[in-house]
Symmetry: C2
Subunit: 143 residues, 2 copies
DNA sequence: GTGCCTACTTCCCGTTGGAGAGTTTCTCTC
DNA sequence: GAGAGAAACTCTCCAACGGGAAGTAGGCAC
């Protein structure tokens, strides 16, 4: 496996995995990353949260993420971060200061997924108006 | 609003909406589209399910989608399709044949989102190997 | 009438996610 | 030296969501 180049491996993977099949492992991966908190965490660590447009990816502390992702529960934040770490999308670093400092940073794999989660968030923000307009039409015509 | 060009409207929307805020409507939209069934429905209607690589987007029947999205419950399929219709991402057409035929087809708005959901699915399938490999490392080193 | 077909809808129940309080470890204050 | 405080969880309880299976509606075929 390690003798294959990444491009070859990916081309082969595209043949082997099919997320439409319930039993396919890529379906489970899709389930995991199709999650609001996962998308927002990747966007945050990818640097999209900077007020003046998207900045560079950077490591962030637990409390910083907690503040940024308004409304996330501590339980879900910890849980999501752990599963992303397990899947190799980010690294968790504990620095024994006092109190302890824990930082999270995207890996290369995480950065590659961030490119598309960024698009998702952009899409939602850019097309919000159209969606709201359509909801109004739908609701009025349904009455 | 209708006097603005789409590009202008979107540029303005990017300023106004911020999905990191819990109260922002774009956050609710992000929650909706960050859903495994929504992603798979968009991929299916976008033509990604053709065996010989991605085909053209096309209308599909309820039963066809139900078969394609292995493991989806009827309840969730109906529910997801209705919310996508309400948001203007797809159209629902009832043809009074016997028995009745219901087809779903992506709108232009749906097609624009499909471009990124396709990427999500591709990413999951292409990087599955790396994720599985990392999980193994993680599990062994944690023991 | 009985059965069958598609496309749902309803009901029950197990799993998941949210709210909030408790925990740990150390340091700084009084 | 008792108590407050801070970061990063962890635990407990409860409501909401999703899956499975069974029921429904309308029309035709037998």
């Amino acid at each position: 496996m390690t003798t294959m180049k990444a491009a070859q491996r990916q081309a082969q993977a595209k043949e082997e995995y099919n997320a439409f099949l319930a039993v396919c492992p890529s379906r489970q991966l899709l389930d995991r990353i199709s999650d609001k908190w996962v998308v927002l965490i990747l966007c945050a660590l990818g640097g999209d949260a900077a007020p003046q447009g998207p900045g560079a990816p950077r490591a962030m502390r637990y409390s910083e993420l907690s503040r940024l992702l308004a409304g996330v529960s501590q339980k879900m934040l910890t849980q999501s971060l752990r599963s992303l770490e397990r899947d190799g999308l980010l690294t968790r670093t504990v620095t024994p200061t006092v109190p302890v400092t824990v930082t999270y940073e995207l890996t290369d794999l995480g950065l590659s997924l961030h490119r598309t989660t960024r698009e998702i968030r952009y899409w939602a923000q850019a097309h919000m108006g159209e969606v709201l307009a359509h909801r109004d039409d739908y609701d009025t015509s349904a009455s």
